[in-house]
Symmetry: C2
Subunit: 400 residues, 2 copies
């Protein structure tokens, strides 16, 4: 992948490498690209159930969903993957009506082991399918309630390393297990991440890109408090959701050494659809947004606009014979050029080579590193989420 930035002159390259090296000794996601995955792959290779049902919410599902939605337009999988995350009755009803439960593998994913949405749905499934070691798999922290349940009932258990947080867990068993089960090349996914890791820690291009952007975001946090990810393909829709959780939940915090609430607000956009929605606000609205475009260099699809003239619409014949993938990339370029002409909208372009496992592995690790570096620069702990605890306590109180 390639990252072009149009605000280089505005950003300094603070020396933050040692700080990140120090942090990487305690924070687990940094070392996930090198992990041993044979046990995951061999478990996946033995499975014969047709439906893979992930029961998990937030960090327990967004990463796997991002990869699945990225690849599903290009690749045909021999298994079906479902996500049950919400307690929303309309959604549960509709999801379960589509699944043959007897031909399903249920992966219960919860870092704490006691996420209320996950356990509610787990109970619902247990009213239909008795707990058995052929159909239920637990992915959780070592020692959690779910881990104990797995041991007692000999359920397959995959550990989430305790120093890997939910939103940084896509490259752990949380993401790898369901993805391996449907036939995703998880080795290539890790290799993509590894490429960015090596480039960053050797102070190569990824270091240059990430530190430049992070220092711009951090030093302009009061003015540009919104960061848009404008992804030019439907394939990125769930990746955008993954980015929103990562960015919002990691950076929206009280500062460690102040009483101040700080944060950067993520927005996920899909091109060209959102040219007809959010774009006007970027072009003419308040100058409070940076924009990162994501483009695909080679869509590897060949679908041309036919050479047909429609009467009264001859003026649009200039698109005749153009490949749809050229059109979408030119649409991205035209918007980029029009925003650059404004001179006060910070923007950069990330281009991935193809829609494949390696590419999304790169993107995951790139955005995780970017998040970690920005967090250091704005003095917040990227890895906790204390703000969501109060709501859980209040909910518990409603049932007393």
């Amino acid at each position: 992948m390639k990252n072009q930035k149009f605000f280089d002159s505005l950003c300094s390259k603070e020396s933050i490498l040692q700080t990140i090296i120090d942090e990487s000794k305690d924070i687990g996601y940094y070392s996930l690209p090198e992990q041993e995955i044979n046990h995951i792959q061999s478990f996946a290779d033995k499975n014969s159930k047709k439906n893979i049902v992930v029961i998990g919410i937030g960090g327990s599902s967004l990463g796997a969903a991002a990869v699945y939605d990225f690849l599903r337009y290009k690749k045909s999988f021999d298994k079906e993957l479902f996500f049950c995350e919400s307690t929303d009755p309309v959604l549960l009803n509709s999801t379960f009506s589509k699944i043959d439960l007897n031909d399903s593998l249920f992966i219960i994913v919860s870092k704490s082991g006691s996420t209320i949405e996950t356990i509610s749905i787990f109970k619902y499934i247990l009213s239909l399918v008795p707990l058995n070691k052929e159909q239920f798999i637990i992915v959780s922290d070592d020692g959690s309630s779910l881990h104990q349940l797995a041991m007692k009932n000999s359920l397959p258990f995959f550990e989430i390393p305790s120093n890997v947080g939910g939103r940084f867990s896509v490259l752990s068993s949380v993401g790898l297990l369901p993805l391996a089960l449907i036939g995703v090349d998880i080795k290539a996914l890790l290799n993509g991440a590894k490429a960015i890791k090596e480039s960053f820690f050797s102070q190569g291009q990824a270091y240059e890109d990430i530190v430049c952007k992070a220092s711009f975001y951090a030093s302009n946090i009061a003015k540009y408090n919104i960061n848009c990810l404008f992804s030019y393909s439907e394939a990125f829709r769930s990746f955008n959701d993954w980015y929103i959780q990562l960015w919002g939940e990691s950076l929206g915090k009280r500062q460690l050494h102040s009483y101040l609430n700080v944060g950067l607000t993520p927005i996920g956009l899909i091109g060209p659809t959102d040219q007809h929605s959010f774009l006007q606000l970027i072009v003419e609205g308040k100058r409070d947004k940076s924009v990162t475009f994501i483009k695909v260099k080679d869509f590897d699809t060949h679908m041309k606009i036919p050479d047909i003239t429609i009467e009264f619409l001859e003026k649009l014949d200039f698109i005749n014979g153009v490949d749809f993938s050229d059109l979408i990339n030119k649409q991205a370029d035209s918007i980029i050029e029009s925003l650059r002409n404004k001179h006060d909208i910070p923007l950069d372009i990330i281009e991935v080579d193809k829609i494949d496992e390696f590419a999304i592995g790169e993107l995951f690790y790139y955005f995780e590193l970017l998040t970690s570096v920005v967090a250091k620069m704005i003095d917040v702990n990227a890895y906790d989420q204390p703000g969501v605890e109060e709501g859980k306590k209040i909910l518990r109180g409603f049932f007393n």
Copy 2:
């Protein structure tokens, strides 16, 4: 519907009624609730094609999609509805592989009549299905290129009133025609809108709610530049997208009487899913966001969490026997209470009675009026989108 606000003391009730009454003489959306719809309904009643395929982008599809996604969990339709909006080749490929083109009705929706995405896809379809008056319908402005094409070929034509803008057009033939074709009760949809209209113009509760909120948003535009819509049901996912276009594209503008770029940034969230993503940023991040919760009073589904105790998870038995719809509403209430405890996050709650046509009709008109009133208060033209023109010109230039 009911709208509870928790910042009443902070907002004034400017007298803006006369300004809106004056505007409603020129701007067409205001009078859509009273329009004649017999020609739409009788056309729909005669159709026998199984697939309804809407070719349109932005305001030409978001409104119908919002209604369809809202109702589809509750209602079974006898027709299939598809939306083709993007030039994204991966998406087009996947959509067309699912549709039996011979059993399809294609609705070409473009206000200008020359939207590049829409015409590209139209051409693509024409390479597979010849233009014929049994399968192609045009929805466009009177006198547009598409209107001329319809007349020349005797295609059914439905007019978009020229003073109804794309993002305010859901209650015109743009939304009503595809919705009537799949069996949505479009009369009830308009009645919901009418209820809000009457309450607003008679200075009833809707006037009170809308003017109070609008004046708060306008007078705090520099501090609270982000407005989150936190909707507690998956049924609202496409409604959120509709809101994002309406809010962003209408309010992100240069002021009419200044050189300043102003705007309010819309965010769409779905509960409880986004409690595990964006919520942390609202609770502990920078105080730059207001939050509007949308709740459903009666989901009219009955799906209980079974009375099952899971060993090691006995502490979660308090949810046993609870209906999922009670749980989701209590989850919303717990988050609302935790945000109210912060005292510096402006929030309000909209509660609709049910998931039905009347309810979403109310919501459309409520948010349209809110947008119009805020636009007046921040001195922008809610009904144009000049910022998106430059990109279109640049794109055209790429093909010379």
